[in-house]
């Protein structure tokens, strides 16, 4: 999944130098509004959840205002093309019902996967190559017509055209779903999708795909009437809702007004409470501090106003002292890591780098705040992934520990003193330049020769992704699509050409995000093996695999997890963070009038 805003995504990518890595969180006093990672283990499933969803003491009615800066809501609202976390959350909470859905669990503060349109979380054959979903009967579009599984087949097939839907949320299906290459024009149905009747849909895969239950929460697994959906350019504004609300007014990237959809039946919906009568999104603000000021003042309409932007770091102290109870914090499934190019940077140097990197100082310079949006870690898989355990490939090193003397020692012992390290920074981004200076100073102190490589914000992502850029450290960041090792280990550690031995890999790209240039045949074999394991054995197997990779090869240096801190007005209740995407739990927010 992409971060909620392209801009932020770029910043995180280009400032990867600033992405600090993380470690112990006991260094700060307990009264700070920090993200408690330990609460976030789990990420369960509940195949039997049924609607309606009720919240004790919650009231119906009112209008919720969501405000934000011009960086929000900029990407498409077409369910077939949505891949940014804010639009996934907005579409999924209000407008689009998918096969499965995330539900906020008040007790564990975690998200639980529940059936949405489907009657369960899908049933598969033994090797996960065929998934069957049965739809709940009688679910209607906003115009009163009953949905059909054929409409879902149309939506999924249509989304396979990544030239049209350039963010390509269907990337997991390409080359995996049987017949994914057959779809030549809009309206063709991939041969791997079968709809024996209007209430059944079957997906057939060429390779095992164990995570279909998770993946099917994506808006692309929602019904779209082919007659309306064929007008791809205008579909976002004509979107035919299946959710509790429908679009009253929509100006892309600026405003979105939602009113109730009376065809939505709460009894069929275990995930959405849908208590407010209206939702009003306005993302036309240019200054994030203005957004903070409105939410903080909470006067008049401001009382029912919230924002899914992070509170500006300069406003956090004010927020904390004046409105400590109106802050929602939570982790996001984002991990940042240093990816030394394994073909150029030997193991000892990678270990030295681990001690040399100025985790906290770089994060501070970049404007991140420890244990809020910079949560030190040594583990790749983010909190919230079932079966996740702390992994530390360099046991003597604790998270976010910087020790230049030790780094120098390691370099000296290996005879690599003065090893040249090179990484990207953007000259037109002051934060990136400042962070580069901090990182450079730290590397030099540890005995490296630091050669930062200048680029611009526009080019940073491309330069990082290019194998030809003459740098040997890249900052990686990955926002998982769903909490499972499948969404972490293969993208980060698998080589670009799946199925080929390492010796034959051409490395024209880094694959998904394998910036470490890492390839080991035993790891690839293990990845393929774990993909085919029974579903309940997978979480432990992925963790074991991460442990094996990090302890045996130590290809990457995980630095930190992401987090978010958001504010809301006095009259809003139930505002929590959906840790699958770092957005508010829109589905269960209500107005206390």
């Amino acid at each position: 999944m992409r971060l909620n805003k392209p801009l932020v995504g770029l910043t995180v990518a280009s400032l990867l130098a600033l992405a600090a890595c993380g470690g112990s969180s006991d260094s700060n006093s307990s009264d700070e509004p920090t993200v408690n990672v330990s609460e976030l283990a789990g990420g369960g499933q509940d195949a039997t959840a049924t609607g309606p969803l009720t919240i004790d003491g919650a009231k119906k009615g009112g209008t919720v205002h969501v405000i934000g800066t011009s960086a929000d809501m900029t990407t498409t609202l077409d369910p077939r093309g949505i891949y940014y976390s804010d639009m996934i959350s907005i579409a999924g909470s209000f407008l689009v019902r998918s096969l499965t859905q995330w539900k906020y669990d008040e007790k564990t503060k975690n998200m639980v996967l529940v059936p949405d349109l489907a009657t369960d979380l899908g049933t598969s054959n033994d090797d996960f190559t065929e998934w069957t979903f049965k739809l709940k009967p009688g679910i209607k579009y906003e115009d009163g017509k009953t949905i059909s599984s054929k409409d879902i087949a149309y939506s999924v097939s249509s989304s396979l055209d990544c030239n049209t839907f350039t963010d390509c949320p269907s990337n997991y299906l390409l080359g995996t779903l049987t017949g994914s290459g057959d779809v030549k024009k809009d309206g063709d149905i991939a041969s791997g999708i079968e709809t024996p009747d209007d209430e059944t849909i079957i997906f057939k895969f060429d390779k095992p795909f164990p995570d279909m239950s998770y993946y099917s929460f994506f808006p692309l697994f929602s019904p779209i009437p082919p007659a309306v959906g064929k007008d791809i350019a205008n579909y976002p504004s004509k979107l035919v809702s299946t959710g509790p609300y429908k679009i009253a007014e929509f100006t892309p990237a600026k405003s979105l007004k939602l009113v109730r959809n009376d065809q939505w039946d709460p009894a069929t919906d275990p995930a959405r409470a849908a208590l407010p009568d209206e939702w009003d999104f306005d993302t036309s603000y240019s200054d994030p501090k203005k957004v903070d000021a409105i939410v903080l003042a909470s006067k008049g309409e401001g009382a029912t106003t919230m924002s899914y932007d992070d509170i500006d770091s300069s406003d956090i102290p004010t927020f904390r002292s004046q409105a400590g109870d109106r802050i929602a914090t939570g982790s996001t499934p984002l991990t940042r890591w240093l990816a030394p190019d394994n073909t150029k940077v030997p193991l000892e140097v990678r270990q030295a780098l681990t001690y040399a990197y100025p985790y906290d100082a770089a994060a501070k310079t970049a404007g991140l705040i420890k244990d809020i949006n910079y949560i030190p870690t040594t583990t790749l898989m983010a909190p919230g992934v079932p079966g996740r355990e702390v992994v530390n490939g360099l046991p003597d090193h604790s998270a976010a520990q910087t020790d230049p003397a030790k780094a120098k020692q390691i370099l000296e012992d290996a005879g690599k003193l003065g090893f040249e390290v090179s990484w990207l920074y953007s000259t037109d981004d002051p934060l990136s330049v400042k962070t580069m200076e901090v990182v450079k100073a730290a590397y030099e102190k540890a005995g490296f020769t630091a050669k930062p490589f200048a680029t611009t914000t526009t080019d940073a992502a491309e330069k990082r992704a290019s194998v030809d850029t003459p740098i040997n450290i890249r900052v990686g960041g990955w926002f998982s699509d769903w909490p499972s090792g499948y969404s972490w280990i293969p993208p980060v550690f698998a080589p670009p050409e799946a199925g080929k031995p390492c010796a034959e890999q051409k490395w024209e790209t880094f694959g998904v995000v394998n910036f470490a240039h890492f390839c080991e045949d035993d790891v690839n074999a293990e990845i393929d093996r774990v993909k085919g394991l029974p579903i309940d054995e997978q979480p432990a197997a992925w963790t074991a695999l991460e442990k094996m990779i990090q302890e045996k090869y130590y290809p990457i240096i995980p630095t930190s997890n992401g987090g978010t801190i958001q504010g809301h007005g006095t009259a809003l209740e139930g505002v929590n963070i959906d840790i699958t995407g770092g957005l508010p739990t829109f589905k269960t927010i209500w107005v206390n009038q």
Binding site: N28, S29, E32, P288, K289, D312, S313, S314, D315, I316, P317, T318, D360, A361, K364, T365, A366, G367, I369, K370, S422, T427, D428, D429, P430, L431, V433, K434, E437, V438, K440, A441, E444, K445, K451, P452, F453, A454, T455, T456, T457, T458, D459, P470
Partner: protein, 342 residues
């Protein structure tokens, strides 16, 4: 502008006054050049003197930024002997700890303007280095602009026919380049060219900035000079020189140029503040230098309420500098203008 006491009439009569023999003998007539007359007027102009002093102080502080920073044991860098560690100098929210001054603490001599949030560099040091860079770029750009504008204007005004037409066309051509677009296009090219060498990159950024600023702002001066030369070349003294067989070179530099000094001085004094503002503006947009006032102000804007002094001091210094330069330019213009009697 306030009216200064009227000067002795004689002083106002340019060199021609010397030629007039009817002045009363009691008042000794001393021959004074236009520059001398202007200087004497400037010295009596309180605004001009005040502004000159302010500008001088800022310029000296900027030139000696390195010495001052070393003497005060402060630095704008994140490494080196006087650098602070962000981990120990800033709090949980990356604001400076009370012992380092505002916003949480009170004034401290160790860091007169406090330290920056996040990376804990000293604000005074950053500002001085920023001023130095801004002034450096502005002065070089001014000199370059003047040279180009003057040459083109002189040649274009004095030569008739195709050369004039060609040069006028070039002036028009350059006037049609959008300045911001040019700056936007050049910055990434420079970055890409010098990507691997940060020291060279910084030099290249200064040079590129000067080139962008000067190549796109000499046209006004060139037009002004051309107009003046068109007038002057028909005057008797130029015709006389031509009749006497003076070379073109002599006519351009000995006959015409001295008559343009007033114009030049005025344009010069007015364009320095313009260039400073342009440089700061570009660097605010991320297109200019990294150690500039623009970047300092840019990083301080988000702290306007929580750490006001961080933003307002550089802004105030910049405003004072540009205002002082502008007022000084005004006074110089008045002083050099033979038509003003003040």
């Amino acid at each position: 502008m306030t009216q200064a006491a009227p000067e002795v009439l004689v002083g106002d009569r340019e060199p021609d006054a010397v030629l007039e023999q009817d002045a009363p003998a009691a008042k000794k007539i001393a021959g004074r050049s236009p520059t001398q007359i202007a200087m004497s007027r400037l010295r009596k102009d309180k605004v001009a003197v005040t502004c000159a002093v302010i500008v001088l102080i800022i310029v000296v502080a900027a030139i000696f930024a390195g010495f001052i920073n070393n003497a005060l044991h402060i630095t704008n860098k994140v490494s080196g002997p006087y650098a602070l560690d962000p981990n120990t100098a800033t709090d949980f929210y990356s604001f400076p700890l009370p012992e380092y001054g505002p916003p949480n603490g009170s004034f401290t001599f160790a860091h007169p303007l406090g330290i920056a949030p996040r990376n804990a560099t000293d604000n005074l040091a950053t500002m001085l280095v920023g001023l130095r860079n801004s002034l450096l770029v502005a002065s070089i750009a001014t000199v370059a602009t003047t040279l180009i504008g003057l040459t083109v204007g002189l040649v274009s005004g004095f030569s008739r026919g195709p050369v004039d037409r060609a040069l006028s066309f070039i002036i028009d051509l350059f006037l049609s380049f959008p300045f911001i677009l040019f700056a936007l296009a050049v910055a990434p090219i420079i970055t890409q060219r010098f990507a691997t060498d940060s020291a060279k990159l910084q030099q290249a950024q200064v040079i590129a900035l000067v080139v962008v600023l000067s190549t796109l702002s000499w046209m006004g001066l060139a037009r002004l000079v051309r107009g003046q030369v068109l007038q002057l070349r028909e005057r008797e003294f130029v015709l006389a020189a031509q009749v006497l067989g003076a070379s073109t070179r002599r006519i351009l530099f000995k006959e015409l140029l001295p008559n343009l000094v007033a114009t030049l001085v005025v344009v010069l004094s007015m364009s320095i503040p313009l260039f400073i503002a342009a440089e700061v503006g570009l660097s605010y947009l991320g297109l200019g230098l990294n150690n500039s006032m623009g970047q300092l102000i840019q990083s301080a804007t988000q702290y306007y309420d929580s750490y006001p002094i961080y933003l307002w001091v550089p802004v105030a210094v910049l405003v004072i500098l540009v205002l002082a330069l502008n007022l000084l330019g005004d006074s110089i213009r008045d002083a050099f203008d033979p038509k003003t009697r003040r």
